[in-house]
Amino acid sequence: MTKKIEAIFREEKLNVVKEALYEIGIIGMNVTEVRGHGRQGGIELSGRTGSYRVDLLPRVQLNIILSDRNVEKTIETIQQAAQTGSIGDGLIFVYPVDDVIRIRTGERGHDALTYEGDIDMLAEGGAKVEVQMQATD
């Protein structure tokens, strides 16, 4: 079975999360910038003649499509890397995915999801592939 993980968290945590995911072999992903709010009510900003409330705050949404067996490890990794402990840390959603088709080759399902050195290859004893990353503090 194939799943989609959709994680919404703080923008400043993106690099940390990406780095932690590469570490466990999650290579393919996409990211969108989103705005929203959960229990945190937004922030007050000031204009020249008074203040206004921005209740939809910027976050990033990270999407990963992966095999069932890798979901728990991935969720755990994201949850730890994206956490600050303050209100507004975000949420992770998991959905079922019916099928995956790689446009270039026409591969489907599990085959369309595997990369050289990814989490599945690692589980089958494959060699890790170094992903070029700019890790900063």
């Binding site: 705005r35 206004y52 900063t136 503090d137």
Partner: protein, 463 residues
């Protein structure tokens, strides 16, 4: 004062003055007016006041140039903050230079080290360089404001607003005026017994090196922005948010420089006109040469593509470098001085990166390195207006220039270290929190974004 040259040929003035004299004589042909001031002097005073105020207004406009360059070269989330710092620079400079700065810089000297009269400037002061003291004060004020505003760029995107207020006051009230007194106030550097004494026509050292040194000390005290270097020390470029703003800012600065340098002649009558024309032409030539050379050097050896911000920084580098020697060199040497400035700005920025110093707008290569280079260049290339350098067979001028560069450097490093490391760090603290730096200084320091997002904020239409 000392920036005036001795050339005072006034031949052309007769076309203005003779009709004026004749009409005055016809209107007031009474003996009582015989004791009145000479109409030629009156006209000269008026003309020079117009010149000094007009060029001062151009230099004031450089504040807008700095604001746009610095905002354009940094990220959108810090735009309100950097713009605000540019505003407070001029606000503080105006008030501090009125109360103390002018007196420390141009007051009667205490052994050549500091001025001691003329606090809280008003109209009771005597004429300076043949114009009202208030006009002269205003001209000097806009220079003080320029020195202050150089620094905000190098310290951008991570400096606390409150810390910046303390800095901005200190540079305009104390650091800049005292260094300025040694040179333009007729202090000990001006009267050095080498060559003509230390010379800096319009402020490569007085304004730009002073600002540049404080920019360097400030950037070092802060440390690099988060994300500027990888954990293994590899530099990562942080692109600015608007190249259009940078281009506009540079052209505003370039225009302002036509006030900065030509205005520093402090007079326009007679032979001053020739000097002013030379200064204007030299200023522009050096800027063009700096822009061209920086573009070519970086195209060939660094980025491998023509890079716009590098070329713009090259033009600014040429302008800073020619600021000290613009009245003392020929147009040909101006091109050479600007061209070398263009090389310095490219490799200076690379050097800073190697040293892990984060200067978001390259203020240090532009103002400090080229300020020092331009000041030194007088000792090498000077041939005009009573100052001679190595090319004219005079090897003593360069000694005066080196002493001046060294003395001002020591002063700025010492006061900068005390200011940033002792005074500011012990009181309000210098750098914002890690979290604030990520979110941007606009939201955390000012609670106001520069570019609010109307669609998804709650700014929408209420029914």
């Amino acid at each position: 004062m000392n920036k005036t040259t001795a050339l005072r040929s006034m031949k052309w003035l007769r076309w203005v003055v003779i009709p004026a004299v004749v009409s005055t004589a016809l209107l007031f042909a009474s003996p009582a007016y015989a004791q009145d001031p000479d109409p030629i002097e009156e006209l000269t005073r008026g003309l020079n006041t117009v010149w000094i105020l007009l060029t001062a207004f151009l230099v004031f406009w450089m504040q807008a140039g700095f604001a746009f360059v610095e905002a354009g070269l940094t990220r959108a989330k810090n735009t309100t903050n950097i713009m605000f710092k540019n505003l407070v620079d001029f606000v503080f400079a105006t008030l501090a230079f009125w109360a103390f700065g002018y007196a420390f810089m141009y007051g009667s000297t205490a052994s050549g080290w500091i001025g001691t009269s003329g606090f809280f400037v008003d109209a009771s002061l005597d004429d300076v360089v043949g114009v009202p003291a208030l006009a002269f004060w205003f001209f000097q004020l806009v220079f003080a404001g320029t020195a202050a505003t150089i620094v905000s760029g190098a310290m951008a995107e991570r400096t606390k607003f409150s810390a910046y207020l303390i800095f901005s006051f200190a540079i305009s009230a104390i650091i800049y005026p005292i260094a300025g007194h040694w040179i333009w106030g007729g202090g000990w550097l001006w009267t050095l017994p080498f060559g003509a004494g230390f010379r800096d026509f319009a402020g490569s050292t007085v304004v730009h090196s002073v600002g540049g040194w404080l920019a360097l000390i400030g950037a070092l005290a802060l440390g690099p922005r988060l994300g500027r270097f990888t954990r293994d020390g590899k530099p990562i470029a942080i692109p600015g948010h608007s190249i259009s703003m940078v281009v506009l800012g540079v052209f505003i600065l370039w225009l302002g420089w036509f006030g900065f340098n030509p205005g520093s002649q402090l007079a326009i009558h007679g032979g001053n006109a020739d000097a002013v024309a030379l200064v204007a032409v030299n200023t522009n030539l050096a800027a063009a040469a700096g822009g061209l050379v920086a573009m070519v050097v970086s195209w060939l050896f660094v980025t491998k593509k023509p890079d716009l911000t590098t070329a713009l920084n090259g033009a600014l580098a040429g302008l800073v470098a020619i600021t000290a020697p613009c009245a003392y060199v020929t147009p040909g040497y101006s091109i050479l001085i600007g061209a070398i400035g263009g090389v310095i700005v490219v490799y200076g920025a690379i050097l800073l990166e190697k040293l892990k110093i984060d200067d978001p707008v390259s203020a240090v290569p532009i103002h400090l390195m080229n300020g020092s280079w331009g000041t030194l260049a007088i000792g090498i290339f000077a041939t005009e207006n009573g100052v001679t350098g190595l090319v004219a067979g005079n090897s003593s001028q360069i000694i005066a220039q080196l002493i001046g560069i060294g003395a001002v450097s020591l002063w700025c490093v010492a006061t900068g270290m005390i200011l940033f490391h002792v005074i500011i760090k012990a009181t309000v603290g210098l750098r914002v929190s890690r979290e604030e730096e990520f979110k941007g200084l606009d939201i955390e320091e000012h609670g106001a974004e520069a570019y609010p997002n109307d669609a998804v904020g709650s700014l929408g239409v209420a029914d």
